[in-house]
Symmetry: C2
DNA sequence: CCGGATCCGTTTCGATACTG
DNA sequence: CAGTATCGAAACGGATCCGG
């Protein structure tokens, strides 16, 4: 992998850690909670603050508020007034957020293969054997606007 | 789960999460440094403690030692005596570690698409258009034992 | 030198209480 | 419902020290 080594090299580590894409990506989603929020939006149909709050993993409300703010600032989610109930807010993935689907899919495949998870083997198998089709389905569901 | 009894250790939310594969994966690699270490092993040919330490992103030595220990405990890396110099140690990816390659590739693609990175478009294009071939190359390089 | 371990000030996290 | 405020606990980071 000599070719890959060239552009991964970092020389300026001053302000931003480096221009390496992995480093940059982890600056915005490389914490314990951000990708779980994206997962809830993408696969679990969660939309509201309380949806995330009671999502099972038990994120604290202050941390959740902070992460939603950062994900918003990073252009991964947007906060909108609920069209069906103007008193409420809904969070929604942007195109940049939905584009994280392949990352999540690979995480699922990796974890299901090497760790003890409760992922249904049928779903994981579909992700592996029909990866492009699965991702297309995620994209279509997002375009349709349902969960 | 709060009032289970005062003699019972209060179980923190951070420790035991759900069985969701993404949640499980992020428990082991969902921090700011672990995936960068895997990247250094996979693409930059880094092997030793000092390689990682001076990798540009500037991890502190105590944090690095902690992460290497955890990655070892998670079966993602192994620590071995250097075959060429018995005074030194080398870290190496396990099969479980090299299996993270698709995750890293998707992170590169995502970041290159939406963030300002210094990844050469040619390499990213290759990752996208010839994804399986690229991953096969990573696997082969790992099997051959070079970086 | 290499591969950490230890100490310590600073930052972030997490749990709960509270508010508009 | 959708967050803040508060405060102790934990993690981080930098510097230094240490055994081999």
């Amino acid at each position: 992998m000599a070719e890959a080594g060239i552009w991964m090299e970092s020389t300026s580590n001053r302000e931003r850690r480096s221009g390496c894409p992995i480093s940059i990506a982890l600056e915005t989603i490389g914490d314990a909670w951000s990708l779980l929020i994206v997962r809830d939006l993408m696969f679990k149909g969660h939309k509201t603050f309380n949806d995330f709050l009671s999502a099972g993993e038990g994120i604290a409300s202050n941390i959740l508020a902070d992460r939603l703010r950062k994900l918003d600032a990073a252009g991964i989610v947007v906060k909108q007034v609920d069209a069906e109930d103007a008193r409420r807010f809904v969070y929604r993935l942007t195109d940049r957020g939905i584009a994280l689907a392949p990352v999540l899919v690979e995480l699922v495949i990796w974890a299901a293969r090497f760790e003890d998870t409760d992922a249904p083997p049928a779903v994981v198998g579909e992700m592996e054997s029909n990866r492009d089709g699965f991702l297309a389905g995620v994209w279509e569901a997002w375009v349709r606007g349902d969960s």
